[in-house]
Subunit: 341 residues, 2 copies
C-alpha cells in the first residue's frame, strides 16, 4: 500500500469518527427531544439562550432566574378529575369509619353510596366539605404518610397507571432544561401545597420548598409523649388559583417569575404578572387539543369535565394581545408520556 493511500484511508476514518461524534453531540444538545420544531419549542430555546448568555442584552442574573409551572393540565393530566380530588373521595370511607355519624350526613352519604353520577354532580360546597374532612384534622406527618400510600396504590381510570406516571414528557424536559440553565423551578398550583409536596421531588425534581399551592393553617402542639407536631387545620391561608397565584408567588418566592407556564383561566393572573415585569419574560399556555393521545378540552371541543381546565375565548384573546405562546399538545409534542413509544 502506498503511503499516500494509507494516509487517505486514515483521513477517512478520522473524518467518519469526527462526524459520528458531531452527530452524537448534536443529538445530545437538543434539550427538548420530545418537541417538534415550531414556534413553541423555538420560544423556549430562544428565551433560555438569550437570558443565560453572558453579554446578551437580555441576560438575567442567576438569582433572578425563577420559572413557575401550574401543575394540573400543565405538568400532568387533570381529566377526568384532579388526582387530589380522587384522593379526597377515596379517603372518605376511612373518615367515615373514624366518625361513623358522618355516614348519614351529606355529602358523605353520596360518596359512600358509590353512585358515580351522583358524585360527579356534587356541588363545589359539597366538595369543599369533603376536602376539609380528608385534608385536615391530622398531623402533617400523618397526612404525608396517607397521601404517599394512596399515590403508590391508586390508578388513573384511563391508563390504569399511577397518577405520578401521567406527567407530560415534553414538560419534564422543559423543567430539566431550564434548571440546567440556572433557573429555579417552582410549581404554582391550585392544588394542595402539602399534597403536591409529597411527590414533587421524586416526580418533577422539585423540592417541597419550591411548591406553592393552596394552603391551610397548621397549629403547633404536643402529643401525649410531649413530642411536638403540626395539626392541619381547616383554615384557608391562600387559595392559590387565579389572583391567588401571583399572591402566592409573592408570599412564597418574593420575586416575579421570568417564565410561567399554565393551561387554563386559573393561570391568567400568573401569566399577566410574569409578563408585566421588565426585561425578557416568557408566558406559555398548554392547549389540550389531542383527544387521541390525551384529551381535547378547553378551547377545543369535547370537554370531559367542565369544572376542570376552563379556557374561555377571553384567555385566547389575551394570549394574543400579550404575547403569550401557545403549546399545541397535538402539534408541538412528539410524545406525550414517557411510556408512549
Amino acid at each position: 500500500m502506498k503511503s499516500s493511500l494509507r494516509c487517505r484511508r486514515l483521513l477517512v476514518v478520522v473524518l467518519a469518527a469526527a462526524l459520528a461524534i458531531g452527530v452524537r453531540a448534536a443529538a445530545q444538545t437538543d434539550p427538548l427531544p420530545s418537541w417538534n420544531d415550531g414556534p413553541a419549542k423555538t420560544a423556549i430555546v430562544e428565551f433560555v439562550r438569550t437570558t443565560t448568555t453572558q453579554g446578551s442584552p437580555q441576560f438575567v442574573s442567576p438569582a433572578e432566574r425563577i420559572a413557575t409551572f401550574d401543575q394540573d393540565g400543565t405538568l400532568w393530566v387533570e381529566q377526568p378529575m384532579y388526582a387530589q380530588v380522587m384522593y379526597c373521595l377515596e379517603r372518605v370511607p376511612a373518615v367515615v369509619k373514624a366518625k361513623p355519624e358522618l355516614a348519614q350526613v351529606q355529602p358523605f352519604k353520596t360518596v359512600m353510596s358509590g353512585n358515580r353520577e351522583a358524585i360527579a354532580r356534587l356541588s363545589m360546597k359539597d366538595l369543599e366539605k369533603i376536602l376539609a374532612a380528608t385534608l385536615t384534622g391530622m398531623s402533617t406527618d400523618e397526612f404525608r404518610a396517607e397521601a404517599k400510600t394512596w399515590l403508590e396504590t391508586a390508578r388513573d381510570p384511563r391508563w390504569k397507571r399511577p397518577y405520578t406516571e401521567l406527567t407530560y414528557q415534553p414538560m419534564q424536559e422543559v423543567l430539566k432544561y431550564v434548571r440546567a440553565s440556572g433557573y429555579r423551578t417552582y410549581i404554582v398550583t391550585g392544588g394542595g401545597q402539602d399534597f403536591v409536596r409529597v411527590y414533587a421531588e421524586e416526580v418533577y425534581g422539585i423540592p417541597p420548598e419550591q411548591v406553592v399551592g393552596t394552603v391551610g393553617g397548621t397549629k403547633y402542639g404536643y402529643d401525649k409523649s410531649g413530642k411536638p407536631f403540626l395539626l392541619k387545620e381547616p383554615r384557608l391561608l391562600l387559595n392559590d388559583d387565579h389572583a391567588g397565584k401571583p399572591e402566592g408567588i409573592h408570599l412564597m418566592i418574593g420575586r416575579r417569575p421570568r417564565a410561567a407556564f399554565g393551561n387554563s383561566a386559573g393561570d391568567r393572573q400568573m401569566l399577566e404578572y410574569t409578563k408585566a415585569g421588565d426585561g425578557p419574560r416568557l408566558a406559555m399556555l398548554v392547549l389540550h387539543d389531542d383527544a387521541t393521545r390525551e384529551y381535547a378540552y378547553g378551547p377545543a371541543k369535547g370537554l370531559p369535565n367542565s369544572r376542570v381546565g376552563t379556557f374561555p375565548q377571553s384567555l385566547y384573546d389575551q394570549a394574543g394581545r400579550q404575547g403569550w405562546v401557545l403549546i399545541s399538545m397535538k402539534n408541538d409534542w412528539k410524545q406525550v408520556f414517557s411510556f408512549d413509544k
Copy 2:
C-alpha cells in the same frame, strides 16, 4: 559546598515552604475565625463535619440540609428597639401627611409629638395600629422602595451606623460556613417578611425566597394603566413568632430544619421542633451577656427594653434538658461586629 550539605539546605527550604503553606492552609480552613475555641464553636464545627462527611453515620443528604436563623438578636442587634419598629415610627409623618386627619388620632398623635418617653410607653395595640398604617395600603413595589430608602439613611442611635452594619460577624461566618457545606440558610423571623427581604440578600446572602417572617395578605389588582400590582393588606396570614415559627417553616419550607439558631422565648418552638426530628439536629441560643460590646439582657441583668428578647428561666432550663447549645456573646465571640478592630 558538599553535595550532602546542599541537599540538606534544600531539604530545609522545602520543609520551611511546606510548613508555611501548611500554616496558611490551617488559617484558611478555620471557618469561624471570630469565634473563640469552646463548646459553642465545637458544636457547630462538629455538627457540620458529621452531617456532611460521606460515610458518616450522621450523614445528612444535601436535600435535607436546612438551617434556620432568627434575625433580631440572633443575626443583628435588636436593642433598644427592633429596626423595623423604628422604620414604622419614622414613617408616621409621611402617613400623616397623606392622611392629615390622623394627626389628632392616637397613637399617631403621640408619635408626632416626638415625646420619646410617651412613644416608649405605647401599648402593643397602639404599635399594631402603627404597623398596619405604615406596612400596608401600598403596593409591594412601593413598600420595597420606601424601606430601601429608609435603610440607606437611617442610623442606629448607639453606633450611628446603618442598621444593616449591625450584624454579628460570628453569625455571618456561621451562615457562610454552613452554606459552603451545602446547607440552605433561611431567616425565620417575627419581623415582617417583606421588610427583611429588602436587604437580606445583600446583608446576609439570603435570597427573598429564603426569608420566612410575619406576613400579611396581598391583593392582586390593576393600576390605571392596566398594569398588575399587589396591594399589601392589613390581613395577618402568619405571626411568625413562638408557635408561628414551626408553622411558618412548614408553610414556606415544608421540611424540618437540621439546625436552628435563636436568642429568645420567641424561638423556643423552632428549636424544640428542630431537635424533635430524627438524626443529628443542632439547636443554639445566643446569650446577650456582653454589656460592653453589645448589650446584656435576657438572662443577664440590665434589660434595656423589656419587650425585646425575653429569655425566661424556663428557656434556660429547657436548653439544658434538650441539649441546646448556648452561645455566650462575651466568651464565645472574639469580635462582635465587622467594624470592631
